[in-house]
């Protein structure tokens, strides 16, 4: 006797209801609170991107998990049963195949277009190399991030090329980070700012950030760079513009003695090496 129970319809109904509820919870409750937060335009955009990705992947993940769970429960071997029953062989279903192709192709193409637009909008806080494709509008304050084993230092070409061992940037401003390294490959990762850019020796890797309100943030190296990689972190501050002006003036004064020793500001440096190296 053929089993006429509408398994597929039931499964789709369960999936539809649970998808609506869970996707709403994910999109409106969980995702907005996820890192990197809303400290900059770029980090807010990352939260939006993550929300969209979570929103799309939730029904897909649910479909897989529900199908597995449904099969395990409904088609389990019951006590007392002495035979193993199998359903009728599947010989192909054009309608399902067509829907499968349409849905997956649409999803992938949408994500490709959405991702490209988001990347090109303002650079998404990522390193864009020496010739950025996406340059946000407005006057940018340049900050050079110089990585070395195992510390970041910072140079401000717009303020006489002063170099500092701490990072402060003004609020409500466009910041243009120029990330480079003096030795091995590092990565400048200020996740609250939504910035992550590789620091390569002899290269200038540019990343943009539009700051918002003042905050304290952390800077970590995100590229395994030697025995003290795990210790290569410090903190930075987004401060009001007036406070930044005062701070940078103080830095110029504090580091005036060493200013004559610094090389002329350059987008990358090739320090005279190897006097001791082999």
């Amino acid at each position: 006797m053929q089993d006429t129970t509408p398994y597929f319809r039931r499964l789709v109904l369960i999936w539809l209801v649970s998808s609506v509820v869970l996707t709403a919870l994910v999109v409106f409750v969980l995702a907005p609170g996820l890192p990197p937060g809303n400290a900059t335009v770029q980090s807010s955009a990352a939260v939006v991107d993550n929300t969209v990705l979570f929103g799309i992947s939730t029904p897909i993940a649910l479909a897989v998990l529900l199908c597995l769970g449904y099969c395990l429960v409904v088609f389990r071997e019951r006590p007392g049963s002495d035979t193993t029953l199998e359903g009728p062989a599947v010989r192909g279903n054009s309608s399902i195949q067509l829907w499968w192709l349409v849905i997956t192709t649409t999803t992938v193409l949408f994500l490709a277009v959405f991702g490209s637009i988001e990347l090109l909008k303002d650079g998404a806080g990522g390193g864009q190399g020496p010739n950025p494709l996406s340059v946000p509008a407005g006057h940018a304050i340049q900050v050079q991030v110089i990585a070395q084993q195992w510390e970041f230092t910072y140079r401000y070409p717009g303020y006489g090329g002063v170099e500092t061992n701490s990072l402060e940037i003004p609020a409500n401003s466009l910041i243009e980070f120029h990330v480079t390294s003096l030795d091995v490959i590092h990565s400048f990762w200020a996740y609250q700012l939504g910035v992550k850019a590789d620091a390569n020796p002899g290269e200038d890797n540019i990343a943009y950030v539009n700051t918002k309100a003042p905050l304290n943030f952390e800077v970590h190296c995100a590229e395994l760079c030697g025995v003290y990689h795990g210790y290569m972190y410090n903190s930075g501050k987004v401060v009001p513009k007036a406070e930044f002006a005062s701070w940078i003036a103080q830095q110029q004064k504090t580091f005036a003695p060493v200013s004559g020793n610094l090389p002329k500001y350059s987008r990358s440096y090739f320090p005279a090496p190897d006097r001791r190296g082999g």
Partner: protein, 219 residues
């Protein structure tokens, strides 16, 4: 139990013992710890030295290194973890016996993070030195402390080649004071790529705890 099963069992047990021994030795092999002595000026005193090569009986007798020294009885100890009290002044006297290597980042040729923002170089108050004449840097990034160490002249008549060295040999004397922070483990390191024989001077003693880097155990 047949002979084959017994052999497998014995081999497995021996393998486990060897692996355990290796892990145990790895975890317990670390540079020694030195405790800073009380200073008559208040706070504690650390006497250190940087040498072009470790002692001849060291596992790496060609590696550049830091040492804890007692100049009175010539007691040199190869220890790079130093115990210091929290929120206390640490007076450091450093005897620098190595030649100049040069800084990759000249910014580090200015002293930062010391009491008064200066250090004494052979008795002279100093803020910055020639980055090309720098031999090493004593830095504690967590405290913002950077002290550049001048290299011994290339024409020095009585240089020291391996630890231990004596005060009659050519050296630079650097003194400075800094204040410790809260309790914890704080890293110190050199910023000059001074590892002779390694690519760009970054390997060996620069990448091995116990030579050009170590920890402050703040208690």
């Amino acid at each position: 139990m047949n002979k084959r099963a017994l052999a497998v069992l014995v081999c497995t047990a021996v393998s486990f013992v060897l692996v355990g021994l290796y892990i145990g030795l790895y975890l317990t092999a670390h540079p020694g710890t030195a405790i800073a002595s009380a200073s008559p000026e208040g706070g504690v005193q650390l006497n250190l030295a940087t040498v072009p090569a470790a002692a001849l009986n060291d596992p790496h007798p060609t590696w550049v290194s830091y040492y804890v020294v007692n100049t009175h009885d010539q007691d040199w100890q190869h220890k790079t973890t130093w115990v210091v009290p929290a929120h206390t002044l640490v007076h450091v006297t450093l005897y620098q016996y190595d030649g100049a290597s040069g800084l990759r980042n000249p910014f580090l040729s200015q002293v930062t993070g010391t009491v008064g923002g200066t250090f004494d170089l052979n008795g002279k108050t100093t803020k910055t030195i020639n980055p090309n004449a720098t031999s090493h840097v004593f830095a504690i990034p967590a405290y913002g402390l950077t002290v550049p160490l001048l290299g011994v002249s290339a024409t020095a008549k009585n240089p020291c080649s391996n630890a231990p060295c004596t005060l009659s040999q050519d050296h630079e004397t650097i003194t400075f004071t800094f204040r410790t922070g809260a309790k914890g483990l704080v890293r110190w390191q050199c910023f000059v790529p001074c590892a002779a024989g390694y690519i760009q001077g970054f390997g060996g003693p620069m990448q091995t705890v116990g030579y050009m880097d170590g920890f402050l155990k703040v208690v």
